[in-house]
Symmetry: C2
Subunit: 205 residues, 2 copies
DNA sequence: TAAAATTAAACAAACGTTTGATTAATTCAA
DNA sequence: TTGAATTAATCAAACGTTTGTTTAATTTTA
């Protein structure tokens, strides 16, 4: 069971880890930010590593979103499904930038092996759903014969690229450093529109 | 001037930081791996932070590759230039996975501000070259009216996605965990081919 | 009052960095 | 050309902090 206090600590940790990285954040930093005693983190989670695992487990389902629902829907065409997944995925990631960030930090550092594996599993499950749809589209000859795996890399990679660094994103978009693209609705629509364009011209004839 | 020994330490550091992250790597780890005394890192570089800065400066030009040369070439069409940049960029990144990795770790962690800025600058310079070509193509009506900034995000993001995690990459590609996609020539061609396909159908009519 | 939550204090280990001594190589005066 | 002086490189040891974690005492809750 997740108590209010545990949740409070996890949310503070997500923000802190996103800013300073897991190794770069100390438990004392975290305790100060969450306004709890240093001992509480170990009391509730056992260790700093286990706190990270708890965070991933706590938030992982969140990333999944409506994937299953969309895949199972029989009244939509493949391209409609992909459009909907794009909208969903962009919305999910843009509204959880910190969590998305720490997942990718962990992937990029890639030390703690079991943690790395867990995160890969979360992504792969999402990715597989998407791949099934693409392959079905190819089979039905609605889609061109593309490289399904790398098509997914393109879709997810574009979003990740934008999420990589606020500073870089703003420089790319000719915005000043204070602008927060992740909460800007117009930017979300711009990204969604671009992704649909890319994927459509790539998949459709 | 960069002596052999400095270079030796920097190369060892690139590998170590890529594996364990900057914060996750201790100077003692590094000294052991490079087979030098712990004091040598501070002797040669001043501090752990300055070692990182030295690495970025030392390797930054490497990323740039033949960008200028390609941009200045007047006997190529815009799409030919982009194809060449794709080939170049993929080759560069795949042959320096560790350096690419630590740059992105730093972008994702994003604490040390001046370092963050420096790295963003390196990328932005490369990106601007590409954007100029895309915008020229649009002006000449060779290219469709696309979103130039996000088109670059797609190009670079796809490569980054593949570089993010060897484990993830292999799971995506149905390879076992021991396979190293980054040194595999067939994989490089597959990635290059996919990128060209995506960009062509996105840019051309 | 018994269990759970919270605290300040303490723990050993690891951290980046500095030190002062020692060695090896180079320069310079006679 | 020799021997002293200077410089650079290397080392083991120690520096003061900070780290994650634990303890033991205290407060709060039910």
């Amino acid at each position: 069971m997740i108590t209010d206090k545990k949740e409070h600590i996890m949310n503070a940790a997500i923000e802190l880890f996103a800013e300073k990285g897991f190794e770069g954040s100390s438990i004392r930093d975290l305790a100060a930010r969450a306004d709890v005693n240093v001992a509480m983190v170990n009391y509730y989670f056992g260790s700093k590593d286990k706190l990270f695992e708890a965070i991933v487990e706590y938030k992982a389902s969140f990333l999944r979103g409506k994937m299953d629902e969309i895949e199972a829907n029989t009244s939509m065409t493949e391209i409609e499904k992909i459009d909907l997944i794009i909208e969903n995925y962009v919305a999910k990631i843009l509204s959880n930038p910190s969590f998305h960030r720490i997942l990718h930090q962990e992937l990029l550092v890639g030390d703690r092996e079991s943690m790395h594996e867990n995160i890969v599993k979360v992504f792969v499950r999402n990715i597989t759903t998407l791949r099934n749809i693409i392959e079905l589209g190819i089979k039905k000859k609605i889609f061109k014969k593309v490289d399904p795996e790398l098509t997914m890399a393109t879709l997810i990679g574009t979003i990740n690229q934008v999420m990589l660094s606020k500073a870089m994103c703003n420089m790319l978009m000719h915005r000043d450093g204070n602008f927060d693209p992740y909460t800007d609705l117009a930017f979300r629509e711009r990204l969604t529109k671009h992704l649909k364009q890319v994927i459509h011209s790539h998949l459709l004839n």
